[in-house]
């Protein structure tokens, strides 16, 4: 059994990151795009925590907590925008949101 090293975590994080990027780049549903962004942030968090483990200090963990805070803020604001938008346009498809101003 190969012991689990930082590299393993990096691979998993890379996979999650790319999945998130795929979601962001290809989905039309804004809610799912926002979820994909959460995936990306999680991948980054995983990297940070893994590196924190590798170096034996806590900076990575602290940063990941900051990223969680950021993710919460981003989700709140993003979903707020989405609801305001949905109320006016009755759509949540990102390719129908193509004007700078309504």
């Amino acid at each position: 059994m190969v012991p689990i090293t930082t590299l393993h975590y990096l691979v998993v994080a890379a996979a999650l990151f790319v999945l998130g990027v795929v979601g962001v780049l290809t989905r039309r549903n804004v809610v799912i795009i926002l979820m994909s962004i959460e995936l990306i942030l999680n991948a980054v968090n995983l990297n940070l925590v893994a590196f924190s483990r590798m170096w034996g200090n806590l900076h990575g963990q602290v940063f990941s907590i900051f990223i969680v805070v950021d993710a919460a803020a981003e989700a709140a604001v993003g979903l707020g925008i989405l609801i305001a938008f949905f109320r006016n346009k009755e759509t949540i498809n990102v390719d129908e949101i193509d004007l700078l101003k309504w």
Partner: protein, 716 residues
Amino acid sequence: MHSAATAGDFFFLSRIWLIPLFPAFGAAMMFFFGRRLQKATVSAICVGVVVVAFLFACFTVNDYTHFAHGTGQPFEKIVYTWLGSGDGHLTFLKKDGSAAAFNADAGFLLDPLSAIWLLFVTGVGMLIHIYSVGYMAHEGGYYRFFGYLNLFMFAMLTLILANNYILMFVGWEGVGLCSYLLIGFYFHRKSASDAANKAFIVNRIGDAGFILGALTLVWYLGSFRFTDLNPLLRSGHFAIGDPVLTAAALLLFVGACGKSAQLPLYVWLPDAMEGPTPVSALIHAATMVTAGVYMVARSNAIFVLAPTAMKTVAIVGALTAIFAASIGLVQNDIKRVLAYSTVSQLGYMFLALGVGAFAAGVFHVFTHAFFKALLFLGSGSVIHAMSGEQDMKFMGDLRQRTPTTFWTMFIGMLAIAGIPGLAGFFSKDEILWQSWSSEGGAYRVLWFVGFATALMTAFYMGRLIFLTFFGKPRMSHEVEHHIHESPKSMTVPLVILAICSVAAGWLGVPPSLGGSNPFGKFLEPVFAKEAHVMQVEEPRQLAAGEKEEEHTDPMEYTLMGLSVGAAIVGLGLAWRAYAHAGKDYKEPIAQAAPPLYKVLYNKWFVDEAYDYAFTGRRKVGDVRLGVLGLGEASSWFDAKIIDGIVNDAGWVTRAVATLSTWWDKWIIDGLLVNGPAVLSRFLSYPARLFEWGLVQWYALVMTAGLVGFAVYYVWK
């Protein structure tokens, strides 16, 4: 001019400016709260303020007599300067090139002339207010009516108390406005609103003359103020017949014609009878229509210096008198008869003014105010009794049913007809005598006119009374059933006015009848100076002077006798013709002279003539003249000539524009504007591949860029 300190001793006199404000307060109350007030409250307020004004006026005049000590010196109270300014900010160049300040004060002038007007305007006005309480009791717009009446009182008092032409003009216009409003009181009736419009428009013509005359005066003399003008004019610096003064006097007389319904501007007055009867009595018989007389009398100093104007006044007055009287002979509408009678009497007054007998004219105004108001109010009472019927053909035999009205009106008839002992006799006789005697008999032809008028007056007044109160009842049964005497609030003023109609004359009993003419004496200071002027310039014209009166006494008695005879003859003729009129009666004049009757009945076709000539409501053949004609012509001119030019210009413009459009579209826009745009669009095509509005594309480019950079740096 007296210092304020002297005037300050007199409580009422120093507060003269309050008099117009009482009715103004009433009008303001009605304007703001009238809709919400009870009828009783409305009457209390509106009648109350006029009563207060009348009492105040009485005390003021009392103060004034003490103030003047019989010298007749005017009392002037300038409250403030409301137009222009004392420091000469509003300056203008006079005719002689010198600069003068344009000043109009809210100033009040009380001299014998305005004192008389003040007293009878407030007095008669008060009575008519009281009368209106009864008369209007069942009408809608009660508060509106009284508001208008109060407003009228305010304007009229402003007019007569003004110390300058401009403030007078304010009052002048104010009474015109109130006249308009009150004639059109029943505005839902087309005839009433038409009559109101007519009155307003015709008055405008006169008003234009008034303001032009006033401005001419100020341009020539530098002031509006009577207390400045009169000494100036009487100083002898101006020659008699001065053309500018003549022009000014004539212009002022145009104004007087308009307001006082003289030829040719009298047409509005008969129509003004569309208004409620108290209005006819107050405005269109007693007070407002005498404003012209007042103004001419007030301007006597100017008129004296303009003999041409004086002649014009006299002739116009005489012609108006006989003209209106002739129409009055055959009219059937009771109020219309009285209206023409008013016009006729106003003509008398102007005749008096024209012949230089200002005091006589004013005296006739004074007496006329009472008996004409009496007659109008009486006719109102009759109409009230007849359930609104105004046509005398359908009246008759009312004397038992409405005894008070009958007796008071009968007195009024006697007064106007000139039966000795009553007011009309003294004033009218004075005028006739003056017209006979003044200027050494230059106007004697006018005496004949006046005499004929007196005869006619007696006849038509007799006709009115006899048709109304004697003979047999000619009304329908329902109307007859409803005939009743008017309420106290209407009859009491009638009785008071009847007493006044008798008594007023005794104020001016001429010396020839053993009187002392206190009225004339009272007024003397106002007119004294011009007599002096005349004496200096042309002693022969001293006809009005006392010395010559003594010489002509016998002639005076003859003339007096003649006029009394005319009155009696006229009444007698009327009695014979109308006293027994039954249901099937025929107009005797129509029987005797049908063409004449037709002409008279149609008022000499003056309205029609005006329609042809001035208003253009009737066409002469295919051509329309007058205002409408002018309108049509200018419309045609506008449509064909002006618009034609405009259209042609438009065509030219369009042609040019077509050309320039082409240029703009293809050369400017196409080549110079769109060209670069097309070019940049063409050139920007590759850039747009990267920027086309899909957010995810941006993210994708970011990703690609990230990969690209990373690859570059990792595998460099």
